[in-house]
Each structure stands twice: as structure tokens, then as C-alpha cells.
Amino acid sequence: MNFRNNPQLNKHGELIHLLSIEGLPRALIHQILDTAGTFLSVNDREVKKVPLLRGKSVFNLFFENSTRTRTTFEIAAKRLSADVINLDIARSSAAKGESLLDTIANLSAMHADMFVVRHSQSGAPYLIAQHCAPHVHVVNAGDGRHAHPTQGLLDMYTIRHYKKDFTNLTVAIVGDIVHSRVARSDIHALTTLGVPEVRAVGPKTLVPGDLREMGVRVCHDMAEGIRGADVIIMLRLQNERMSGAMLPSAGEFFKNYGLTQEKLALAKPDAIVMHPGPINRGVEIDSRVADGAQSVILPQVTFGIAVRMAVMSTIAGNSA
């Protein structure tokens, strides 16, 4: 059996898991962003803790390695006073041949309250949410190419922080869209929040035409893609895709789609430049842009912790 209804909402429409931004109501997204705003001040306090998840156990299950995302989730959970257990599944259970669901059953028996899951396969967190105990909450920390909802939400927090209103914006997402879970989550969030123009920019091998059905304008020309944009989201080009059948070389990619000062000048003068990190200087973005006045890449990281605190405290407060 599979979920008939949106598995991340309970029957009252409250968030019990965060698996994808797709299907989340606009008001719920704003509510999470508002909550994140209240947590930002926690990060400035001398004692950076609130007791919302005291006594709760948060398990970080990273079936795919990621130091940065795991760390931000760990900090967020600790600032909510949760006990955090990091499991390097990629090097332990999975390597020993334990199946995904056996791993989940074992960890559930350790009385976990929340699983933060990173997996290389699209949809894996859905399988976990479907098979874990009813009181356990699942947060998708990135699954295959499918979704990275907390990244999507922190990107929305960042945009709202600098631009206030979503309904008059042009947002360009540039680079390897086809393999990007961040791009998918951003697109769902932006279209849900009422952004009138979302552009996906890149060569045809990385920006498929099917994306139009997600409500975006597909641009294969960089100048067309970023002209007049309020927000430019650059995506990381994975090392293994820099040279092959998708792209001939990182250098040629940079020549066509790398964000330089000259290209940035085509966007609105007050445009902001975002990137989910880690950045490849000289591949998708020039150092002068990454470190320049319009870059908000580091504030994104700071907001990310507050947004993850908001997500975890929101779902922990709702029951299936």
C-alpha cells in the first residue's frame, strides 16, 4: 500500500513530516518562515538554546555523505535542546548490507523521535515515513534529485528577508537543474508563494523542457535568463558532471553560464545572488560575485539553522 493523501500532513492539514515543498499550502510556508524569524534571535543570545525539543531524540541518518547539511541540522536540533545522534549510515549499516527498512526498524526501537534523512535515491524518505512508528517524524534532508525542502525554505527565508514581497519578483535558477533537488524544491516554493516568473537557465542537457510543466520559463541563453532578475540562484555543478556527455568541460560551462560581474549587470541593480553551497569558484560563479556586495550566500547559511529549527519544532508539535 502507498499513501493516498499527502503523507506529510495529518488529517487536520498540519505538518507531521517534511518530505517535499510540493503540496504545502502557502500559509504553512509563511508560518514556518515566521517561526524561523523568531529563532534568529536565539542564535544571537549568549545561551543559544530553547527547550522546545528537550528530551527528544533526533537521529541524523545520512545514507549519503554531507558534512555541511548534517552539521546545520545538528546545530538546529541542539539549539532546540534535543539529543542528537549522528549515524554515518553510508559507512556502517548500509555497508554491512542491512536493508533500509531494517535500519529504520532498529533505530525506531531505540525510541527515536525524529529522523533527519539524506539519501541518494529520490523518494527514500517517503518509504521511511511510511514504515516508521506513528510518533516518529521524518525530515527530508535531500533525496536523490527529488527534493531538499529545508534548503528550499531557507532560500525562501532569504528572499523574503531581502525582497519582502514574492509577488513581483523574477527569479532565475541557473545551472544543473535536471540533477538538482534544490532547484525542484525552490521551484515548488517560488510558484506556491506567487512568484510570477521563475526561470530555469542552462544548456538543454541540464535543463529539460519538461520543466515548463512545473511552471517555469526555460531559458537556454544566460543573458535572456538573468536579464531583469531580482534573484539569481546559482546551483553547484557536481564534479562528476563537469566533463562527459552532459557537458564537455567546466571551462566551457563557465564561459556560457558562469556568473560574472558582467553578466550580473544584466540583472536588476539590487538583485541578490544565492547559492546552496558548497560553491565551485570559477565553475558556476566567479569569486568577485561570490564575495561581492550582492552575494547573500553566507546569510543563507545563518538563516538555514533558524529555518531548520522552525521545521523541527513545527513537526514535533503535531501528531499523526
Binding site: 500500500m1 502507498n2 499513501f3 493516498r4 499527502n6 503523507p7 510540493e22 536493508s99 533500509l100 527498512l101 539519501h119 535515491q121 529520490s122 523518494g123 527514500a124 517517503y126 518509504l127 514504515h131 533525496d143 536523490g144 534529485r145 527529488h146 527534493a147 535536471v178 533537488r181 525542484r184 529539460p208 519538461d210 520543466l211 510543466e213 512545473m214
Partner: protein, 431 residues
């Protein structure tokens, strides 16, 4: 054993017969259709009032999982599933472990099946040794052992030189080659390319993976005049190409699975691994073209594509889950459902799972060729009696197959099989 079936609605799609009548069976054969004389003394009389009496069904795509995958299906369980579904003849695929690439394996399988005394089993031999795509199998030996054709199952035969020679060799002796039309490179994906796969972040198989393979095959058929059966068509463009190739007179036939006749990629929902199928489910226009192609005869046969998959192999993330669904027990229900929805006469619907698939394998059937998939006096008494008005719910625990995964779990399907007779003995009756 003499059996008299009385008062049923006898439908024989081959002859077009559709009437309320009796049928007498003795020594494995149909001895009389119509008024049965008083000196016929049956050991058993079946009252078929309200039931359809049809030829036993013929399924051209079944995986029995033996040898090598017994954890997913045993000959006993899958043959029991066949008769429970009214299937009295089935063609099984060579992608076992080891593959059916030598006569001994085929003989063993036939022997085991014969001892179970259930449906007739027609194996497909592997086209190349180990399905490795390099060395041809001993086709004549395999045919002698009982193979009705040669297949490469789901393994893409990427090397067109080997494929060309395989078709030349097979056609020398009049053997039919059964091939899936999927390009070995473009076919590497887990869902149909399209808006859904893009949105869900699943790797997509484009339609051109099918059309390129079809065009290549048709060129090879034009050159070799080899007889080819195309397995599991999946796209509107594919149906169109097959239609044109048939109009041109190429010696080809093709089939479609029950899954592709009723489902689309939207049914994947939230990564439902029950929908992980090969070929992948495509879009509504493709499904509609497949339905129309089956109705107009472009597609010759409807198949269950029965593939038992165990729980461990399905409870995995979508892309890692093993493709396939159980199907033998759903073949009739899903055929009837298609027939109802597309306004087909019952006889026409039943033709897609009786006489039409028999025509695909007729050359290899020998003495059964004149009566399999039909109800004729003197012919083999393979009969299915079903209640066309009774709906039943698909419940995994009620399926006899060891494979419990099907996209249709919970669905209500028409057509309850009540009796299945194979060579004149009652192989199944519903409790």
C-alpha cells in the same frame, strides 16, 4: 473422466460462437458442443448457469521464477496462480538463473510442469548464451526440448551485429524471436521521461528509446524476413510504427501488458514501488493509443507480464525496487475491464487472451495448434468458466501467486473465475 457443462454461455472467439449451450468433455477432449446425447454418462456435471464458458486463457508473458529465483516464486505457486486466473497455456521467459539457454534446463522445467498436471507450459529459450548478447544458443536443440521461440527477456541486445545474425539464424529454421523494443542506452531509466519523472527527480526513459529500437528491428526484419514478436509495447509512437510495419507486411506480432492498458505514470503517486514496471508506465495519450491498438488488432495479444517480486525487493526506494508485478490472476479481470470501458463485445475482449495469442505461437504448438485457445469438437478441453457479473477485490493475501505486489491492490475487478479445466480435468474451482 467425463464432464458435462450445462447451461453456460459458450463464447468461442475464434469461431464467433456466443450462445447458451452444453459442452461434453471426455478423455481430455471436447467431444460435443450443443445438444449432448443421452448416452453420454458424465462422471461430473457442472451447472454453468450465469457463467461464461470460454477457452482457457493463453498468457504470452509469465515469469515462473524457476530456476534460481525460488524465493520470489515456485513452479507450484505460480502454476496454481495460473489456473486460478483461468490461464491454461502460458509462455515463460528465459530470464531465470541460470537462463534457459540449454536443453537440459528446458526439459527439467517442462518435466516439473508436467508432473504438476496444470497449465500447458511453453518456454522461450534464451536467444544468446547466458543472455550475454554474444553467442547464439543451440536453437534447434532448444526447440526440440520444447521452446516455442527465443527471447532476450529484459536484457537489451545492444550489439546490432549479433542481433542481425540471431535473426538470420532463427529465420533459417522458421523460429520466432521475441524482443522488447528498448534501446540499450536510452532505456536506462526508472520512469517514463516526462513531466512526472522530471518533477519527481526520477531518471526518465524517453519514447525514442522504444521507437529507435522498433525502427532498428524493422530494418533487420526487412533484411532477414525473420518473424519477430515485439513484447510489451509502451508508447503511442510505438503503436503507430507497428501499425505501419504491419501494413507494409512485415512478419511481426506484438503484445501489451495489462498494467500498461490501465495505468499511467501519474499512478506512481508518492513513489509507489508497485508501479515500478518495465517498460515504465507512460502518459495518458500512450495508454489510450495502446487501448486503441489492442482494439483494432495492431496489438495482437494482451499479457499479464506476470512477475512475482518478493517483499524485500519491493520495499526499497523507487529506483532500487525490482520492477514487475504479479498478474496471472488479474489477466481476465483487467481484460474485461478494458473491454467494458472501450465498448468491446465480450467475444472480442476474450480473443485478446485466447485465439489471438495462440496465433502468435501457433507455428510452435504442433498438434495443439488447431485447438488451443478455441472450443472445438475434437480439440483439447482447456476451458475457463467465469462469472462475468461478479466483481472481486484484489487482496494480496488472497492471491495464490507468491508475488503479492500489484498496482491493482484494492481495486474491484469484474469476472470471477469459477472453474478452470486443463486437458479435460478440473485444475481449479473456486471455493
Amino acid at each position: 473422466m467425463k464432464i458435462l457443462i450445462q447451461n453456460g454461455r459458450l463464447i468461442d472467439p475464434a469461431s464467433g460462437r456466443d450462445e447458451q449451450t452444453d459442452i461434453a468433455i471426455a478423455a481430455g477432449r471436447v467431444v460435443r458442443i450443443g445438444q449432448v446425447s443421452a448416452d453420454f454418462h458424465p462422471n461430473r456435471t457442472i451447472d454453468a448457469r450465469g457463467l461464461v464458458v470460454a477457452p482457457g486463457f493463453v498468457d504470452l508473458a509469465v515469469r515462473l521464477r524457476e530456476p534460481g529465483h525460488e524465493h520470489e516464486g515456485m513452479l507450484e505457486s505460480e502454476m496454481a496462480a495460473a489456473v486460478a486466473g483461468g490461464v491454461t497455456s502460458l509462455v515463460c521467459l528465459p530470464d531465470t538463473d541460470p537462463p534457459l539457454d540449454e536443453p537440459g534446463l528446458v526439459e527439467m522445467l517442462k518435466f516439473r510442469a508436467r508432473n504438476l498436471n496444470q497449465s500447458h507450459l511453453y518456454p522461450l529459450g534464451a536467444l544468446t548464451r547466458g543472455l550475454a548478447g554474444e553467442v547464439l544458443t543451440e536453437m534447434a536443440e532448444l526447440t526440440e526440448a520444447g521452446c516455442v521461440g527465443f527471447s532476450h527477456a529484459e536484457v537489451a541486445l545492444k550489439d546490432t551485429l549479433v542481433l542481425h545474425r540471431a535473426l538470420q539464424y532463427a529465420s533459417t529454421f522458421g523460429y520466432t524471436t521475441w524482443l522488447r523494443a528498448q534501446d540499450g542506452y536510452l532505456g536506462n531509466g526508472v520512469a517514463a521521461k516526462g513531466a512526472l519523472a522530471t518533477r519527481m527527480g526520477l531518471t526518465g526513459v524517453p519514447v525514442i528509446a522504444e521507437t529507435i529500437a522498433l525502427n532498428t528491428l524493422f530494418e533487420l526484419v526487412r533484411d532477414t524476413r525473420a518473424r519477430v514478436h515485439i513484447c510489451r509495447l509502451s508508447s503511442a509512437a510505438g503503436v503507430d510504427l507497428v501499425r505501419r510495419a504491419k501494413a507494409e507486411g512485415l512478419p511481426i506480432t506484438c503484445d501489451v501488458s495489462v498494467n500498461h492498458l490501465h495505468l499511467t505514470d501519474i499512478d506512481i503517486g508518492y513513489f509507489d514501488a508497485a508501479m515500478r514496471l518495465t517498460p515504465p508506465l507512460r502518459q495518458v495519450r500512450d495508454r489510450d493509443a495502446l487501448r486503441a491498438g489492442l482494439a483494432d488488432g495492431t496489438i495482437d495479444a494482451l499479457v499479464s507480464d506476470h512477475t512475482p517480486v518478493d517483499e524485500d525487493a519491493k520495499t526499497l526506494p523507487f529506483a532500487e525496487a525490482e520492477p514487475g508485478a504479479t498478474g496471472l490472476e488479474l489477466l481476465l479481470g483487467l481484460a474485461l475491464k478494458w473491454g467494458e470501458q472501450s465498448g468491446q463485445e465480450l467475444a472480442r475482449t476474450l480473443a485478446t487472451i485466447t485465439i489471438s495469442p495462440v496465433r502468435v505461437i501457433a507455428d510452435a504448438l504442433g498438434s495443439l495448434a488447431s485447438s488451443a485457445g478455441q472450443l472445438v469438437e475434437g480439440g483439447v478441453a482447456d476451458v475457463c468458466l467465469f462469472d462475468p457479473a461478479e466483481y472481486w477485490q484484489v487482496r494480496p493475501d488472497a492471491l495464490r501467486s507468491q508475488g503479492k505486489h500489484t498496482p491493482f491492490t484494492g481495486h474491484e475487478l469484474p469476472g470471477r473465475v469459477r472453474y478452470t479445466l486443463v486437458s479435460g480435468h478440473v485444475a481449479f474451482e473456486s471455493p
